[in-house]
Symmetry: C2
Subunit: 724 residues, 2 copies
């Protein structure tokens, strides 16, 4: 196209395939869906080029080696960065969280634990108290005890919580609106092939990291797990720009993002295998097996780095609490956040189970009572007076401590459940793994303690007689908490295998897997009875993203001809003929319609399909030709064939557009059941598919048509699918 | 077709879709490949029928509930059966294995451990010796010590080993030839859509179970892991016959088999998560996410049952040793087995590390030396005299015990590696997990002990100074053994994530994951440098199964028109026209060609494609019509259209074949790159695909054409692909 003369000579045009590509052809607009098949072809083409050149020189050879290793390099970098950032977030959030209660005089940058750890004057038993660490009441009022200091501490707690929350929501609002929420719904959509520019950019990464620390420290009932997946995916995206193999190919970039999401879950929970399964089960759309191995690697590197940075992290579950709620204050995000934070802080402070760091709470609830356990939950009577009841009957009678703990747990449960209604929709980074797990764990522990007491007072009941051997602990409340946590999280996210594996990796007991599975399965079935979509799918639907769920089955009997456009009442399909349009006519077709692409046919009479050309590519190619090629005017004939058509002698130079023509468009017949069409779209990642009848072109089906049709069949409003 | 009159009336023919199906249409011949798309459509059709009827009566409703639950039911049954069979095999193999050394006088059916366990006269230290248990020498010669009794025991050991091996190979040869080998290559092929009748049948199950016990007890160096996967898949296949949903649909049946293979690995290793990942990574071809959850369930049920049956199984790794060798005695399978068994028994008996049960050996090699360890491998000098060397330097000096052990280990390694060359090809059930792991573990332990000694004698070397703190154990030979085992198994099977997870579940230490990964990755890379195919893929290729590997990438630039048939020199494509063939002409086309199906076109002139009809279906339909429909003669016109063509008044009754016509055949254009075609075949599980150019039919590509083309591009003989 670039240098060939005006006359169509077959020899120059045979070289078309080798000509330099038109810049911009083959890229995508924001909020559009990528074509997986084309992207994969592009990558194989690139790979072949590098491979064929590699024997030419040692420079080309080292380039090919670099190319082959870049996949491992980028996942290693992503794993390192995710682990490092997660460690940083942990440490910073810890410090800020303790700042709500007081400050370390000897070194401002120490948190409570570190401050007293370096002190020589503390014993192990009183490791929480040391002269260097001053609560705000001590610092301002000069007294550590009494109602005045309690109120002062309460006030400062609320003051700091509000400051952190305000700063977080302000940063998100001003600098990076994409940094709010958990990010998992959007990441699922992006991985399915949608383009959202800037969602995984450096600004989002920076602001999300900072505001996650603030949001976590503010004491809101939110988890950092979802946001950490988003942070890891940002790292993956940013590092992929170092390698043209990944930055220039949207399909390959998504392979890196799959691995990055695994790394994110890995650092969030310290569960590398669970992270890989999460990536596989929950977020990834196309999961080639090659990615499985790389994801595993990224997950391990990330977990390893996190452990090296933060070896004394108080547990793998390290996250204060925030509330997942879904208010309709949407228009006033700052006010909304401040309000929810204030309520959270005011209500949470007096109750030890809500004031506490949520992951610590979960850990305490999971732990069974042993002789060394000092928790209030374990103040059983038998431990205090050593009566023979302990030896003779299973389990233990309760004591006032346990009763008080039960009451507080019940209040904490109600508080958490109520404030859970105010979701997730706050404009700060927020995950819901930890809050869901906490709710489930509290409920589970309450049931567990109740069962234990029942077994103690009624150990002759049939059900207990059968199971409880004399003298053995037949009820373990910690296990109930664990099962409750898994069930609750399973109900919210509808995760299955990955959830069980994550909890297994957290707790380390293979023997708990069976009760865990039963709980997760039950909660999934109960949840499915109310509606099949998990929280992420619901979120995707709410936002109108074009996400074709791989898990949902299409079960209707419609045929392709009922879904394709044009419908019966519509104007005929906008098509291009292969060699008798002028540039002007082509531009007219483009400006009159808003379709993203046009089928090219042999002639209007035969309707035999030749190929498919994208609107964006046609526009770019015409602009490019008019700028660079002489003699291309509005009257120039446009042709998609191999050879130029025979034209009158005085006609202007024709424009060859074969290089932008997709000569292998996907076609189905009009009789194809829609279930097959949906399957093809899902498995091959198509954007559109042409419909033929006995070899003639009839219409077109796009991904959006399918989503609309599915919404229609499910009696939903098809206009909720917004993008294309 | 059945009741409609001879005259083509449009009203009766509109009902065609509702007519009863012709029996036999839509089934497959042995050694043919299934059409996944068609199978899935059939299943959705069935599902819709049940769903639409379920409100009619409570009977129909309970049928629909039964149908919905049958998936869970069948995987539960499979898990239960696999677990029970694995437990049975463990116990029986244990007993037979001990029978080689002696017999329990008090109860014949007790193995050595159980025999002495019930005895009151033994102390813990001498728990292997008790009066009830008599070695053969004691029983026959009446003396327990001395060279005579050693030779007697040696002789009886060989005698029993040969008897077991002889019986095993005889049973396999006479009753179930499919029961030999590991079965994993065939299961991979079956899961990819190939039909091998009887491979998963009840006879294979029975004979494989019995012969596996015998083969294991005979002392051959084989593992029971692969065969257990085969046994589990047989259970899955047999139980699927209880449910028409699964028995009548080849694609659905493969979902059950995927779950069954996970259950098999789960019981083989006691690693349910590893089993699921193995099924996902190694054996499954189409792995819908629904299957992931069911596989996990089956794996857990199986592991649970196994543990209940055999709680005292000496370890999860429970398998004597056999030799994986690949001799060319193929024509004399019985002789071959006897010979290899004899050599194994003769050489193995004198060396404690080869006489021992292989899984016990692996366990011993994995275990680090602690103060209570009585193994010969741990007879370090410092433990005997308690010198201060132990406190001052890392690790321990060696003692004669360790030197002797090292020598025996080296001999065992050579023996195992040499006899490994005689593979896997023996006509008895044989797996290679355990032998590979044992070889790797021996090599790893040898290296580990050598490193330990090096660190002891040269603890001032740079490398040791850096890593070994004074007084700390810086070299753990057990870890070396573990890493060696994983590396060796990884090299043989090219498993990655699932292998690491299996070893992790076996050993339970998250901290070992990083060295394990590094080892597995290295061995995979080294192995890949010699050839990308693992042992299972090589086996599949050797047998010529039509297996389109999902992991291997197709990287050539060929186009569909270069691969399609007919080639340039070939006769034109055999096609059927939609309405102008007679029954006689149709039968002629079928008898003159051997193709499995024929495209149906509008007319020879236009070459516009209408659909695709399978040879088998046409034959069945014609036979059925001539038997059941009056007036169908050789001169009858055959038509695939909606309405009968207008015929002269005296012509015989026409035969409508629209119901067997696939009206949505897959098509690609001749310009489609083969990489896309291969992708479509893999992801959608096609059998064939038609090739068009500008809407005209040009040719056809079958799965076999693709496999041949791939073999050709890889410079292999394309005739190695045998079936279709």
């Amino acid at each position: 196209m670039s240098n060939g003369g005006g006359v169509a000579s077959s020899t120059t045009h045979l070289l078309d395939f080798l000509e330099e590509p038109i810049p911009g052809v083959g890229t995508y607009d924001d909020f559009h869906t990528i074509d997986w098949v084309r992207e994969k072809c592009k990558d194989r083409e690139r790979h072949r080029k590098i491979n064929s050149k590699k024997k030419e020189s040692s420079w080309e050879f080292s380039k090919s080696v670099y190319d082959a290793w870049s996949g491992w390099l980028v996942v290693t970098l992503t794993g390192l960065a995710s682990g490092a950032l997660a460690g940083l977030i942990d440490i910073a959030a810890d410090w800020l969280n303790d700042l709500k209660e007081g400050v370390c005089l000897s070194a401002m940058w120490f948190n409570h634990e570190q401050c007293c750890w370096t002190s020589n004057e503390t014993t192990f038993a009183e490791r929480d108290k040391c002269p260097q660490w001053k609560s705000w009441a001590e610092l301002i009022l000069g007294q550590a005890e009494g109602p005045g200091s309690y109120i002062m501490n309460y006030f400062m707690y609320i003051y700091w919580a509000l400051s952190f929350a305000f700063l977080a929501v302000l940063l998100v609002k001003v600098f990076a609106p994409y940094a709010c929420g958990s990010g998992i719904p959007e990441i699922k959509t992006i991985l399915s092939g949608f383009i959202i520019r800037g969602y995984l950019g450096k600004w989002t990464l920076l602001i999300k990291t900072i505001t996650l620390v603030l949001a976590v420290a503010s004491g809101l009932s939110l988890g950092k797990e979802g946001p950490l997946v988003h942070v890891a995916c940002c790292c993956g995206n940013i590092f992929s720009y170092l390698f043209p193999k990944y930055s220039k190919n949207e399909a390959k970039k998504r392979e890196v993002l799959s691995a990055a999401s695994a790394a994110g879950v890995s650092v969030a929970f310290g569960a590398p295998i669970g992270g890989v399964l999460f990536s596989l089960e929950e977020v990834s759309y196309y999961f080639p097996l090659k990615t499985l191995w790389r994801s595993f690697f990224a997950a391990l590197v990330a977990a390893f780095v996190l452990r090296s940075i933060n070896p004394f992290g108080n547990s793998r579950l390290l996250l204060p609490f925030i509330l997942l709620g879904s208010t309709r204050f949407g228009k006033y995000p700052v006010l909304e956040v401040i309000l929810v934070t204030a309520i959270t802080a005011v209500v949470a402070f007096p109750n030890p189970y809500t004031r506490q760091n949520t992951s610590m709470l979960i850990k305490e609830l999971f732990t069974d009572c042993g002789p060394l356990e000092s928790s209030q939950l374990c103040q059983y009577r038998s431990q205090m007076n050593g009566s023979k009841a302990f030896n003779e009957t299973p389990n233990r009678p309760s004591a006032p401590g346990v009763y008080a703990a039960m009451w507080q747990l019940c209040l904490a449960l109600i508080f958490k459940v109520v404030i859970t209604i105010f979701t997730f929709g706050l404009k700060v980074p927020s995950g819901l793994f930890i809050p869901s797990m906490a709710i489930g764990a509290i409920a589970g522990r309450i049931v567990g303690i109740a069962m234990e007491q029942l077994a103690y007072y009624h150990h002759d009941w049939f059900i207990f007689k059968e199971w409880c051997e004399v003298g053995a602990d037949c009820i373990t409340p910690g296990l109930y908490a664990m099962v409750g946590a898994a069930a609750c999280l399973g109900g919210v996210t509808r995760m299955t295998v990955s959830l069980v594996v994550i909890v297994f990796e957290l707790t380390g007991g293979l023997e708990y897997i069976v009760p865990l599975m039963a709980a997760v399965m039950t909660s999934k079935w109960v949840g499915d009875a109310f509606g099949r979509a998990g929280i992420y799918e619901s979120h995707i639907r709410l936002n109108g993203y074009p996400f074709l769920d791989a898990k949902e089955e299409f079960t209707h009997t419609t045929l392709a001809r009922e879904v394709m456009r044009p419908r019966r009442s519509d104007p005929p399909l906008a098509v291009l003929t292969q060699d008798d349009l002028s540039v002007e006519e082509l531009q007219a077709v483009i400006s009159e319609t808003s379709y993203n692409g046009f089928p090219v046919i042999v002639s209007k009479e035969s309707q035999r399909l030749v190929g498919f050309a994208l609107r964006r590519d046609i526009t770019i190619a015409i602009e490019n030709a008019r700028r660079k090629q002489e003699g291309i005017v509005l009257a120039s004939r446009v042709y998609f064939t191999q050879h130029a058509p025979t034209l009158p002698a005085d006609s202007p130079r024709p424009l060859k557009l074969r290089s932008i023509l997709d000569m292998s468009p996907f076609t189905v017949t009009d009789h194809t059941p829609m279930e097959i069409v949906v399957d093809i779209f899902r498995k091959l990642g198509l954007r559109q598919c042409l419909v033929t009848h006995n070899g003639r072109l009839l219409g077109i089906i796009t991904k959006k048509d399918i989503l609309r049709h599915m919404a229609q069949m499910a009696n939903q409003d098809p206009d909720t699918i917004m993008f294309n």
